[in-house]
């Protein structure tokens, strides 16, 4: 067997793996913001999110997608970071609503953080205040396409640029301890040698 053939085989298996992966996604929704009210119709029979293989999950360790619905205060940001680090890779973050993009209607509030992607890597944003179920489903379809293409790699960015993210987190929250050993995990997933 030639070396080239092995490489092709690996790529083909990766393709199959991604195709299967995108059809079975468990979503952990972090509902601190008002946008969460759009999720029940998205999940239930009216728009039926499970058509696309996306279903709700209750614990971070079993979830693939972290959905941040709406604004994050400094206090809830810390909980989001702890939740995100508990999730197993590959994992994807969806920023939902204009609050996660630029603070939304709480843009001049002292405790609301402005850009979510400064603190954890975000794969896609769903814009709107608040996004309707159609927009959410469209957003998930974009994410599924990205997973299928192998371009939804924001979770690798967290391992590679962990220093940058950690700096931003500490700047806002002060020193705090997370129980996840990021460097060890990065070696485990083969992101960093």
């Amino acid at each position: 067997m030639s070396n080239k053939k092995i490489v092709d085989q690996k790529a083909a298996w990766n393709h199959v793996y991604r195709r299967l992966n995108k059809r079975s996604l468990w979503m952990l929704h972090y509902c601190t913001g008002c946008g969460a009210v759009e999720l029940p119709p998205t999940m239930t029979s009216r728009w039926d999110m499970s058509r696309f293989g996306v279903a709700p999950m209750v614990t971070p360790r079993q979830a693939d997608i972290l959905l941040i619905t709406g604004y994050l205060a400094k206090k809830s940001l810390k909980r989001v970071i702890l939740t995100y680090e508990q999730m197993q890779s590959p994992k994807w973050v969806v920023g939902f609503g204009s609050c996660t993009i630029n603070g939304g209607m709480y843009w001049d509030s002292y405790s609301t953080i402005k850009q979510l992607s400064e603190y954890i890597p975000v794969d896609i944003y769903i814009a709107g205040c608040m996004p309707q179920p159609e927009a959410i489903i469209h957003g998930f379809n974009v994410l599924l396409d990205k997973i299928n293409n192998g371009t939804a790699n924001a979770w690798k960015d967290y391992y590679i640029n962990y220093k940058k993210y950690r700096e931003n987190q500490v700047k806002v929250l002060g020193e705090f301890v997370t129980n996840t050993d990021i460097e060890k995990e990065a070696r485990y997933y083969g992101v960093v040698k």
Binding site: K75, S109, Y110
Partner: protein
Amino acid sequence: MKVSEIIYEIKKHFDVLSIDEKNEKYAQIEINEKDLRNVLLHCKHNMNFIHLSAISSVDYIKDNKFSLVYNLFSYKESILLGIKILINREKAEIATINDIYHPAIFFERDIHEMLGINFIGNNHLEKFILDEWDGPPPMRKDFDTLEYVNDTFDWYEYDPEWAKKLGIKKEDLAGEEMEIL
């Protein structure tokens, strides 16, 4: 007992500076700071106002005052009575009332955190909701939130050409959005 009778009863014993009868179930009276404890005790023991629903506070920066409104409720009469005092803003401190109404511990802790009023005798004035906060009390009017936000956080720059860069066609957009192209 009507609201007017209750106010009359208080007026017999204490100075009432102003009366604001909102409706037949709700009135607010303003009294002197030194009478506060006695008025509350009188309301609780002689007039059935056994429930403290809330303590609310407003920063009147122009008058250099904080207002404190103690909202008392009577289950017997279904009447809400607000007892208002004004305290000095520079030396913002007042004796606690948690020996009269026990839930005041939490209301006072909240006000202490948000407005920086010191309640003498309350031993539970540690952090309450703003765990991650080490700045000045944020609800004070002289705290400029916009300046703080600009110093602390970065913003996404708005790019007027965003739709072109994403390759969005004109026919995909509707209404006012068409003008961005």
